[in-house]
Symmetry: C2
Subunit: 257 residues, 2 copies
Amino acid sequence: MKGKAEKIILVTNDDGVTAPGIKALIEAVRPLGKVVVVAPDSPQSGKGHAITIGVPLRLDPVDIFEGIEAWQCSGTPVDCVKLARDKILHGLPDLCVSGINHGANHSINVIYSGTMSAAMEAAIEGVPSVGFSYLDYSFEADFSLCKEVAHSVAKQMLETNLPGGTLFNVNVPIVAAADFKGVKVCRQADAKYVETFDERRDPRGKKYYWLTGEFTNRDNGDDTDVWALANNYASLVPVQFDLTDYKMKKELEKIWK
Amino acid sequence: MKGKAEKIILVTNDDGVTAPGIKALIEAVRPLGKVVVVAPDSPQSGKGHAITIGVPLRLDPVDIFEGIEAWQCSGTPVDCVKLARDKILHGLPDLCVSGINHGANHSINVIYSGTMSAAMEAAIEGVPSVGFSYLDYSFEADFSLCKEVAHSVAKQMLETNLPGGTLFNVNVPIVAAADFKGVKVCRQADAKYVETFDERRDPRGKKYYWLTGEFTNRDNGDDTDVWALANNYASLVPVQFDLTDYKMKKELEKIWK
């Protein structure tokens, strides 16, 4: 008879191993099992599902979390998850948690987010996975509510018999604990960024551009993550990586010659 | 009354502006409208939906395609599409085509592919978009069949009243023209990579890792892109960027406390 072995929880992020958000996440999940950290050695925001193929990767131990095995990797968040499996865990963890991201990853951000891509990479491997993000960008952000949410969601994921490939995108609003309404299951809002690039001249007179963008929600639904966050809920969107548009597929089969 | 203005076709890729695949794609679509090229100045394979936020971007004209306005960008494929809209086209094109990628982007590759992410970025803006990939990786690949497929798909996209956000992932098999069976509408196969990292030592004795991976198809369906390509079809998968798993959402609403 197999005993109740301690659960292995892989922790990663995209803000880098020294970001306050990952420290908060480690504290949130360490009562739930054996935590192993593999995270980028530098900020990797906006890296999406990038992998490193043109240059080799470095992986070094770090001793910055009391009593926790931790590694920093020179690659992207997705590289961290791949390396963790092959070189650190020599197998799959029971749960992968990513974050806590400094800044929102609701709606279309799921596409650009390194935090969510790391979690998705583990989900592709069949590991129940979740990315956590906090709407407060600042280095000094107070992660106490996030920690409660992360602990509770991770605990429920470990205790629920979830199908392989389960992936959640959880965002936490900036709200006083007394006004917080709990976790709400949502769909991804139909939103996008309207970009304008800031055009400048370098000291040699040559043009260069900085990406700037304004978030635009074009979705009035009250079942979206953007709505939930605006109404003091944490949003939980179940995310899939089968990108097939089945409705369109059916239409195309009729008309496509 | 508005006349029939020439269609604007944005061409991009992830292999870089000098790759043979983009030249083939330009040749395939130039009879269909006014072509404008904005592509990375260096190979960007595996960049997924990465955007550049930590460093500024460069954008320079290049004169390598006879009679075609072309620009090279120092950023990712997604950056190219964003810059094209804001700084080159000053608006949206009628169609965005990306590729022709040197190598397959079927099944789970859609997640990692810079080719597909560029097309997805345009689709998020509401532009009908398509990524083309050829299963032959080599620099000397013969793109003649791909060019026919790309021309025909792009033509049909321009002539069909497709909803905003339409996005296709088209892959072309390595097959003699006589054995080619045409374009087949498919779903994304449930496949993944099994990674093992190649571990080496640098001249100072320090470890480093190269990503290597073996493609593993765990999907036996005869309606998938992997099946179609193995059976001498070009695969066409309609792709969505609403990643909400609606089936899981319904389940969670029942059980999630």
